[in-house]
Symmetry: C2
Subunit: 85 residues, 2 copies
Amino acid sequence: MIDFYEIVGLVAAIITTAAFLPQVFKTYKTKDTSGLSLSMYISFLFGVVLWLIYGFHLKSLPMILANSVTIISTLYLVAMKLKYK
Amino acid sequence: MIDFYEIVGLVAAIITTAAFLPQVFKTYKTKDTSGLSLSMYISFLFGVVLWLIYGFHLKSLPMILANSVTIISTLYLVAMKLKYK
């Protein structure tokens, strides 16, 4: 049976990952990346990759899922920033 | 001795928490909260509180530190949004 705390972690993962999506959709629709800081997103990407490594170490499904999705979203924003800068 | 993966987690915590600070400083300086979504920040706050509970469950120092600082930053942004909306 899935642990109660794993469910807490999964709900946390869904909420905080979803909070990031409006930015992704906005950038997808408008192609306007003028408000995005490339250095900030590249630093953030590096941090999220480290969280993913740490999540694998802890064998934490919520951390692995949340950070994988966030890496994909962040890579997309970085790519859009580089394409439309 | 501190575990290698705990250091990875701590560096991840510092980077991703620091990525949030420019928003906090900008809001502190300008008091301009027009671009902040209250519902998004309140949802995000709820998610980060769940991450903190999960971090305590995992006895993960990086998760406890990162989420505590993020809760304080997010509470501050929510308070500013309510005050200056």
